[in-house]
């Protein structure tokens, strides 16, 4: 018995995971003439809106003989990743199109499991993406060779949501709110304002809620934001985010990173904490954040029990709904630790937003005619019209910053009100440092950071331990 498709027996030079799996042959860009149905592994939310999305595609010029069938993959992103891993490794021809988390597209690229779009799509399509899309997003869809492997479908950037009504009690006005929407504040200011608001609203339990559970969300996003906003980085500057693995500095022991931890410790444990950060007002976040992920952290805010809340745009739609806070919901970019000028590394400092979002990739094992049809889908999705439709249908943020400026975008209920803040977030988005070893590293980061935040380790100790482990992982893969 032998196993096809590159398994252990074949050692170093195993196959590519199936037949017809060329990842970089140009694809015929002409629309196919026969009827073709494409499977698109999407997620539940998209599958729930399948008809509208199909309509949007059709409106954006997708030929009628091409039908897209949306498969609702698991919403648990890890599960999806594992699923794709198996499907692509097993050389499955279906689904033709895969929706991939920008957080784990890179490993698929590194393993030659998805179609190299730069090589197989017309160059004008590639340059549209490279030139017009959110840069951070595009960066997470590129291989080490600089080629593009995925077309950003929508980005995701967290923002700081707040309760205007509560802040008004503390003396802030709509003017302030307007400023905050585009001009980020520092963590010192932020913590002081929050404290003020807490004092002004003594019935409100929490000041600032966010997510610091031991999970990917902490390493990729929450802490990544805090750290980057203090000018710190895991592996030096932005240029090292995607490698070279093993050949980049590990910088978690540096002061900005430590400051980010100290800042959080102060927020949770107060200014008396042994490792409190000067200037930060403490005791505005509950210890519970250490166990919270997105939803548990959102609950108290939505429930009216918190003043500030960091979360993804999905929650803007929830919290900004008329039966929740409506216009009383304020949104601003995430506060900053240091300004970009003060920051040591290029592209750090300032109001950083961790980058989430999803790409559309192409299964290289798909038969040619399906690939051919897929090109038409890619094309349609580049249409601004389609992207705005998606924004309307499900609040999926258009991958082009410019699109956010359009009138139509502003008209979208709820989230349309907060495009300014979102745009700032998008411009300051920082991708997670996703490489083939990121899954291993991410676990270590979240563990150590959480430990340090929980006062179980000093920031220095935790980061030195972390640096050690990161170093080992880096070395193992080089």
């Amino acid at each position: 018995i032998s196993t096809g498709g590159g398994d252990g027996d074949s050692g170093g030079d195993g196959g590519d995971g199936g037949d017809g799996g060329d990842t970089d042959t140009p694809i015929n860009t002409e629309a196919p003439t026969e009827d073709i149905t494409l499977q698109w592994a999407a997620d539940t939310r998209m599958a729930d809106s399948a008809d509208e999305i199909r309509q949007a595609l059709s409106d954006a010029g997708l030929p009628d003989n091409i039908t897209v069938e949306l498969i609702a993959g698991s919403q648990v992103t890890d599960n999806r990743q594992a699923q794709y891993q198996q499907w692509l490794n097993g050389g499955r021809e279906e689904p033709t199109l895969l929706m991939m988390d920008s957080g784990w597209t890179v490993p698929f690229i590194a393993r030659n499991q998805i179609q190299n779009l730069s090589q197989s799509l017309p160059s004008e399509m590639i340059s549209t993406i490279e030139d017009q899309y959110f840069g951070a997003s595009v960066a997470t869809a590129k291989g080490a060779n600089g080629d593009l492997y995925g077309q950003p479908l929508f980005p995701d950037f967290p923002t700081m949501q707040y309760r205007k009504d509560l802040l008004r009690n503390a003396g802030y006005t709509d003017e302030d709110f307007e400023t905050w929407a585009t001009e980020s504040m520092s963590w010192e200011e932020f913590s002081a304002i929050t404290k003020e608001a807490m004092e002004a609203n003594s019935d409100i339990e929490y000041g600032f809620t966010f997510q610091a559970n031991v999970y990917e969300g902490l390493s990729c996003c929450d802490f990544n934001e805090f750290m980057t906003s203090y000018g710190g980085a895991y592996f030096g500057g932005r240029e090292n985010l995607f490698g070279p693995v093993g050949d980049r500095p590990i910088t978690v022991e540096e002061e900005p990173v430590l400051n980010a931890i100290r800042m959080v410790r102060t927020l949770i444990h107060g200014e008396d904490d042994e490792h409190a950060l000067d200037g930060i007002t403490g005791n505005i976040s509950p210890e519970a954040v250490l166990q919270w992920t997105e939803e548990p952290s959102r609950k108290p805010f939505t429930g009216g029990n918190a003043i500030m809340h960091r979360n993804w745009p999905y929650s803007i739609n929830i919290n900004g709904a008329d039966d929740v806070f409506g216009e009383d919901l304020g949104v601003m970019p995430i506060p900053y630790g240091v300004t970009p000028d003060e920051a040591q590394y290029e592209g750090t400092g300032g109001p950083v937003a961790a980058l989430g979002g999803w790409h559309l990739t192409l299964n290289p094992n798909a038969p040619d005619e399906k690939k051919q049809a897929a090109v038409q889908v890619f094309k349609a999705m580049q249409e601004e019209q389609f992207q705005l439709d998606m924004f309307e249908i499900g609040g999926w943020i258009p991958p082009r910053p410019a699109t956010l400026d359009s009138d139509r975008a502003q008209q979208v209920p709820v989230i349309g009100r907060y495009l300014d803040a979102l745009k700032v977030a998008g411009e300051n988005a920082i991708p997670r440092p996703v490489t083939v070893v990121w899954p291993q590293q991410s676990g270590k980061v979240s563990q150590e950071v959480n430990n340090a935040m929980a006062q179980e380790k000093s920031p220095e100790q935790a980061m030195s331990d972390l640096a050690n482990q990161l170093e080992q992982i880096e070395q193992s893969a080089s």
Binding site: D7, G18, T44, S74, N79, R92, S315
Partner: protein, 319 residues
């Protein structure tokens, strides 16, 4: 009994009064240890009922509370939203997932009970060389984390494993999105447990009954299915229930062996997870779905328990 006591101890009646109800109870209990036993029995029953049912109550509380009110929960639902049990079917065709799980569960259970019956008969009632080693070998399969089987099985079931017979190479069939790649691994991985259960139960059936069946004209297999299996009903039913439940709730294999659609034989856990958004989790819907999803199992247990609790060997033998 109590009559007798009070009748004999005429004098002690007022003493008992003074002692109060508890004292009286203790007094009676000392005379009649059965009372203590009864009392202990009820206390234990109530304790177990509360501990096992409380989490379900909690699940019901969550289901009935509108999702956005699920915060700072107490012991009662905040709000009352029975419509969740309708909404759950609107959001996801949950009944289809239940159907899938049910079919997968029944199919696997049948396969497992059949194969395990044969093997249990062999291990429980026959003597042959290599028995111990074989049993250990079969047991050893359950030592491995399921992930250890995944890659090869995935390739096997997606048509990527080929057998070379000289010049001809036969590829395994592509069974993705069919029940087969779930049913077979479930069967294989659950088989050791059932084999061991049935081995002990079949081994306890007195030889005399098998002998009687064979003299009456059954084959050895006939005796197995006509006498030994029915007499081991508690064991067989238990093995069946355990297998069914395990499959009904399985997710590890099932989520890799299909694309998660109800039409692709995805099981209920896939259905439950479908409620989940990227970040938002409608706990109420998931809770409602789990309650609904557990019902068939409850019914199954009710049916199966009639078999589980039927001591059948009485009156069979004089020995």
């Amino acid at each position: 009994m109590s009559n007798e006591n009070s009748g004999i101890n005429l004098g002690s009646d007022d003493a008992e009064m003074k002692r109060g109800p508890f004292g009286r109870w203790v007094n009676k209990a000392i005379k009649n240890p059965d009372r203590v036993y009864r009392a202990m029995f009820y206390v234990a029953t109530v304790f177990f009922l509360v501990t096992t049912l409380f989490p379900f109550y909690w699940l019901l509380v969550i289901a009935l509370t509108p999702n956005r009110l699920i915060t700072n929960m107490g012991l009662l639902p905040k709000g009352f939203n029975p419509a969740v049990f309708i909404e759950m079917f609107e959001r996801v065709p949950f009944h289809l997932y239940m159907f899938n799980s049910f079919v997968l569960g029944i199919t696997t259970t049948i396969i497992v009970l059949l194969l395990a019956s044969l093997a249990g008969y062999v291990f429980g009632r026959l003597r042959f060389r290599g028995k111990g080693a074989l049993m250990l070998g079969i047991l050893a399969i359950s030592y491995f984390p399921p992930a250890a089987f995944l890659i090869p099985l995935f390739e096997l079931f997606t048509g990527n494993t080929a057998i070379s017979l000289g010049a001809i190479t036969i590829s395994s069939p592509d069974l993705f999105n069919t029940p087969a790649p779930m049913v077979f691994p479930f069967s294989a991985l659950l088989l050791p447990l059932s084999i061991f259960i049935l081995t002990t139960f079949y081994g306890q059936i007195p030889d005399g009954l098998e002998d009687a069946a064979r003299v009456e004209g059954t084959t050895r297999l006939g005796a197995l299915f006509r006498v030994i299996v029915p007499l081991s009903a508690p064991g067989v039913a238990t093995a069946g229930v355990l297998t069914f439940i395990a499959v009904y709730n399985e997710f590890f294999f099932s989520f890799l062996m299909n694309n998660g659609e109800a039409s692709s034989w995805a099981p209920i856990v896939a259905g439950i997870l479908k409620y989940q958004g990227q970040f938002d989790t409608p706990y109420n819907l998931m809770a409602a779905a789990s309650i609904v999803g557990v019902l068939p199992v409850a019914i199954l247990v009710i049916i199966a328990q009639e078999r589980i609790v039927s001591g059948l060997t009485a009156g069979a033998l004089k020995e």
